[in-house]
């Protein structure tokens, strides 16, 4: 076991510093040579490491239950161990099944489903061409249609995988930054959001120690929330460094939660808007949180009115981190912003599933590329690539067996003698 810097083998970019454990077989869990990387839990780190691993030839995510099965095959599991693990895997796969189901109801699910149908049909038609074209009524045009379908699908998949921000946000999570002057309750806000029982929380120190990062599931969207140092002209060198990093974070934020002290802001909309503008980069989507609302007196009404004013005031709410008043409204605003940012109403898809998906989609796209390369040379090899693509997509949308393919063949063609 060793503490090591973990780099992307392709770009040499450092991804994290973490523990690397080597278990030589046969004394590992599965009996095979195994390596474990213990990395920080932030989705950015995780997805970075997984993506880098996924690019290594021969590496793929394990199937549900695969580690246990491998261990079993090697005679490594005693019964008590297997007992517990079976239940664990059961829970895991059940959860995955439910997750997948939930996901399949969304727009993204429908998209995957459509791809799956397109690909299965293309495969079935190609199989029909192989098994029947010679002395049956399966004509050459079928092959041209398969080519077109595969080309179209490869393009769509490629675009989906590289759809820049939107796909990234869905896969890696929305980076939201809490920013504001010192002592307005930024850390309290972070803790408050973490304590919501509805939110899934995995706190972890970020790669820079002064930024605290947590992963949240807000109304189904994956969010990476960072708490930053208070923004001011600091004199202490350490604090100055912290502020500089906070500004850096702000520049890269997908969403800013600007926190101001409700007792110290002007109620006049233009002035309030200007106060936010001095904190937040101009183009960044923003939610204004006026904290310490419990300390407000008569000016509360005017502020509340300003919050619903609209531009130049961003979506805003009064909040008391102390009493929790206003948190519902804040979550509602967050949900609206996230929906806008992510586009898809992606219901409850934790980021882990997403990374698996992107890996399988990537493999599927690669296999579709392989189809094009083999098409002219050897139709059998080209079909093999489509089968491979189908298997990868099947990991997301469900298994398709030989009989399903035959069903399509007999539905679409009059074959046989």
């Amino acid at each position: 076991m060793a503490l090591r810097r973990i780099r992307d083998p392709a770009t040499a970019e450092p991804l994290d510093r973490g523990l690397v454990v080597w278990f030589p077989g046969p004394h590992s869990f599965t009996g095979e040579d195994c390596a474990e990387l213990h990395v920080h839990g932030g989705p950015a780190v995780l997805s970075g490491v997984l993506r880098a691993l996924g690019r290594l030839p021969g590496l793929r995510p394990a199937e549900p239950g695969e580690f246990t099965r491998r261990a079993f095959h090697r005679g490594k599991l005693d019964l008590t161990a297997a007992e517990g693990l079976g239940d664990l895997i059961h829970a895991e796969t059940e959860a995955q099944r439910r997750q997948a189901l939930r996901q399949m109801e969304g727009e993204l699910g429908r998209l995957y489903q459509r791809w799956s149908e397109t690909l299965t049909q293309a495969l079935a038609h190609l199989e029909a061409y192989i098994d029947f074209s010679e002395d049956d009524n399966v004509e050459e045009e079928v092959l041209a249609q398969v080519d077109a379908a595969v080309r179209g699908l490869a393009q769509e998949l490629g675009a989906h995988l590289q759809d820049g921000r939107r796909g990234e946000l869905l896969r890696g999570g929305v980076h939201a930054v809490i920013a504001g002057p010192p002592n307005v309750g930024k850390s309290s806000l972070l803790n408050l959001l973490c304590q919501r029982p509805a939110a899934i929380v995995s706190p972890a120190a970020g790669t820079t120690r002064d930024v605290v990062e947590v992963s949240l599931d807000v109304t189904g969207y994956p969010v990476v929330l960072s708490d930053t140092a208070g923004l001011r002209d600091a004199t202490d060198p350490v604090e100055r460094e912290g502020v500089s990093r906070a500004r850096d974070r702000l520049q890269r934020a997908d969403l800013v939660l600007a926190v101001l002290d409700a007792t110290a802001v002007p109620a006049e909309p233009a002035a309030l808007g200007a106060a936010v503008g001095s904190l937040v980069p101009p183009a960044a989507p923003c939610i204004l949180v006026l904290n310490k609302a419990d300390l407000l007196g008569g000016e509360a009404g005017a502020l509340r009115a300003a919050c619903t004013q609209g531009p130049p005031v961003p979506p805003a709410t009064l909040l008391s981190c102390k009493t929790g008043d206003g948190i519902e409204r804040l979550l509602e605003l967050l949900g609206q912003q996230l929906a806008q940012l992510c586009g898809d109403p992606l219901a409850g898809s934790p980021s882990l599933t997403q990374r698996r998906h992107s890996q399988h989609l990537g493999d599927c796209a690669a296999a579709l590329g392989g189809y094009g390369r083999h098409r002219a040379r050897d139709l059998g090899l080209a079909a093999e690539q489509l089968r491979l693509a189908r298997r990868h997509l099947g990991r997301i949308t469900g298994h398709v067996g030989a009989e399903d393919v035959l069903d399509i063949i007999f539905r679409d063609f009059c074959v046989g003698k």
Partner: protein, 706 residues
């Protein structure tokens, strides 16, 4: 019917240990007995005899051994693979085809060698005569003409599942024949019923009687029985057909033989016959639609094959288009043409009208009408992967009786059943071909694990490892195993396969050792368009992957050491194929290993899935119970079985295994179950098809003699 079978003794208490000695081992008679002389029966009988078993083949008529009941052709896409594999196990059909073909054609030539379909039109008479000659000249194999009415049954062996054991058969004349194993290959003869128009009469094939007594016996024993249908087209007089203006399809020159043993086929390439293509038109469709009321076979709901549809099925499902009709010669000197694609069951006079509506057939004379056959088949999930029945020990089933269609599918099962019937008598472990080893493995695994509700036909699309299981390498996959494990392969064939295997390995090693830079290769073989930008040197084996490259070109560039390899034509062709598929086969290796590992994990034959203490849902238990998978690999192919269920099942089996090990320290209790328990087990087998069109079938298990 005669009911002399001692199966009536099933309800008796378990026999004393001494009774077992009276079993087949000591009994005179045959070691293996095969019922049926079709494609499954002939291969089964010959394989058992090759394995060294004293074998008896019983058939209604010796004259119909090797009869092609339907199309006058062998092989095709997927089916050609099966013929090659049967041949690799030293089976008969490939060699006989090489003595009987009149039009050899490799289908899918342009789609890659993995999916090439070896096919031939064969001369019916030559095929039958050569097959009969093979069978009658096989050492240890006796052939008798007789009808089989019943099975002789006795108490089961304690160390195998099954409620009783077969020890022979009762013939039509009441006499009995004893045998160590019995193989049933009765095709469509179990309660066979021929349909033409509104007429129907019992028959297995036109002119041959069905087997009714056997069907009743099997049913009584608790076998789940279903009903299937198939059909055959009318036959036409060749000299009444106008071939001018029809599309001609000529045969391959040179013809590619089916058998690894054949250097060439019997016929001179230029003497081969042609096939012709014509099409139906809307007139034929009109006739079919106007006369549906005269067509019992089509109206009934019994399952027919989707891929061998009757003309009626085609025009009903895909109306308003032309359908292909291939005019195939039935033989060199035959005046009969087989119109493939015109299978129908209309009354004969209407069949003639349909025929005469087709271009080229306007004046064609029908020499025999098309007809439909409906027949019983047994749910193949009642069989193990060696094709032995789980209900009746030492009773094997092969061919159409298991729900398949096609000569090649039947032959493939026949070889496996023959080998295993022989091994069973010898007390040796069964010979199983895995899905990763051959189309035969896929066929039998699909049948015995998933069953079938329509006549099952082989397709390449059913095969997961299609790139590895090719027609060219069937010998490398099966011949060595067949010789070493099953003893069903001749010394000569074995030596030939060993020699080829060694030559391939040496050849690949030599090719891989010749390494040059890409620019050097461009100079050496300018005729090959090299598109790689690889910096590292590339081998001659890499070069061979390019479509334009072949051994001849390479040998011209590097005569030493490649010249010698290129001279051996068959080796050169196989090296080229190996090179083209190497990366794909290597990529699939891990997957193949996984499948093999799962297939190696056997599940107990007699597992009661409803009783076992494992965390499995009722739905999963039901699926496992009706499919009765034999290995964890088979479990994973049953639709709807979750990974969690597989892990739980693994855990249970391992647990049970460990307990059994511990128990070995204690004296064994008698494992013989009383008869009524067998009957309960039998009753849990469900009737698989609700579409019984003729008589209502009763499953009565408690029997009274007639």
């Amino acid at each position: 019917m005669l009911c002399r079978g001692p199966w009536r003794r099933l309800a008796l208490p378990p026999p004393s240990p001494g009774a077992r000695r009276a079993g087949s081992g000591a009994a005179p008679g045959y070691e293996v007995l095969v019922i049926g002389g079709g494609h499954a029966g002939t291969e089964a009988a010959a394989a058992a005899a090759r394995g060294g078993a004293r074998t008896l083949l019983l058939t209604h008529r010796i004259g119909t051994i090797g009869q092609l009941s339907c199309n006058p052709s062998f092989g095709g896409i997927g089916k050609g693979h099966l013929v090659r594999e049967v041949d690799a196990l030293d089976g008969l059909c490939g060699r006989v085809c090489d003595l009987a073909g009149v039009h050899y054609k490799v289908l899918n030539r342009c789609k890659g060698p993995a999916v090439w379909g070896l096919r031939a039109q064969v001369d019916r008479g030559l095929y039958r005569d050569n097959m009969r000659k093979e069978i009658l000249n096989t050492p240890l194999l006796t052939v008798h003409e007789a009808s089989v009415e019943d099975l002789l049954l006795t108490e089961p062996e304690p160390d195998h599942p099954g409620k009783c054991r077969v020890r022979g058969v009762v013939l039509g004349d009441g006499s009995t024949v004893h045998a160590g194993s019995v193989i049933l290959t009765t095709g469509t003869f179990l309660r066979g019923m021929i349909h033409v128009g509104l007429e129907k009469h019992p028959a297995g094939r036109l002119g041959d009687q069905p087997s009714v007594g056997l069907a009743q016996t099997l049913e009584r024993l608790g076998f789940a029985v279903g009903r299937l249908k198939t059909g055959t087209p009318p036959r036409l007089a060749k000299d009444t057909i106008d071939f001018s203006g029809l599309e001609e399809r000529t045969a391959d020159n040179p013809p590619v033989p089916f058998s690894f043993l054949s250097k060439a086929v019997w016929i001179k390439p230029e003497d081969q016959l042609s096939c012709y293509l014509t099409y139906t038109n809307l007139k034929a469709q009109q006739i079919v639609q106007d006369n549906l009321h005269l067509n019992n076979h089509v109206r009934e709901t019994t399952k027919g094959p989707r891929y061998c549809p009757s003309l009626e099925a085609k025009v009903l499902r895909f109306p308003n288009r032309e359908h292909q009709v291939w005019l195939e010669p039935e033989g060199l000197d035959s005046n009969v043409i087989y119109p493939q694609g015109l299978s129908m069951t209309l009354p004969p006079e209407l069949q003639e009208q349909v025929i005469n509506s087709i271009r080229g057939l306007e004046k064609a004379k029908m020499v025999q009408p098309g007809y439909g056959v409906q027949y019983d088949y047994l749910d193949p999930r009642q069989l193990t992967a060696s094709l032995e029945s789980r209900l009746v020990q030492r009773l094997f089933f092969a061919g159409q009786i298991n729900g398949t269609t096609g000569y090649e599918e039947a032959a493939a099962q026949g070889v496996i059943a023959g080998i295993n019937a022989c091994l069973r008598v010898r007390g040796k472990s069964p010979f199983i071909v895995s899905r990763t080893e051959g189309y035969i493995g896929v066929l039998i695994d699909d049948l015995t694990t998933l069953g079938t509700t329509e006549p099952y036909r082989m397709f390449t699309s059913r095969v997961e490892f299609r790139m590895s299981l090719r027609p060219d390498n069937a010998d490398a996959r099966l011949t060595l195993r067949g010789f070493e494990e099953a003893g069903c392969v001749s010394q000569q064939r074995y030596e030939q396969a060993v020699k080829m295997k060694a030559a391939l390995e040496d050849g690949i090693a030599t090719l891989k050792s010749l390494q040059f830079s890409i620019s050097k290769w461009s100079q050496l073989i300018p005729e090959v368009h090299l598109s790689s930008n690889r910096r590292s040197p590339m081998s001659a084996f890499d070069m061979l992957q390019y479509p334009e490259a072949n051994m001849e070109i390479l040998a011209r560039a590097i005569p030493e050491p490649l010249g010698k390899l290129a001279e051996w034509r068959e080796l050169s062709e196989r090296l080229k194929i190996e090179a083209a598929y190497e990366w794909c086969v290597v990529n699939q290796q891990q997957e193949i290993e996984e499948v093999r590992r799962d297939e190696a994990l056997q599940l107990p034959e007699d597992l009661d899935y409803f009783a076992i203490d494992a965390s499995l849902s009722t739905e999963v238990r039901e699926k496992l119970s009706s499919n009765r998978p034999q290995t964890i690999g088979a479990v994973s192919r049953i639709p709807g079985i979750t990974p969690a269920a597989i892990v739980n099942l693994l855990r249970f089996v391992k647990n049970k295994h460990q307990k059994a090990e511990k128990l070995k320290a204690f004296p064994q209790t008698d494992k013989c179950l009383p008869g009524n328990m067998y009957l309960e087990k039998a009753a849990s087998q469900q009737q698989i098809s609700a579409e019984l069109s003729e008589e209502e079938m009763e499953s009565t298990f408690v029997k009274t003699p007639v």
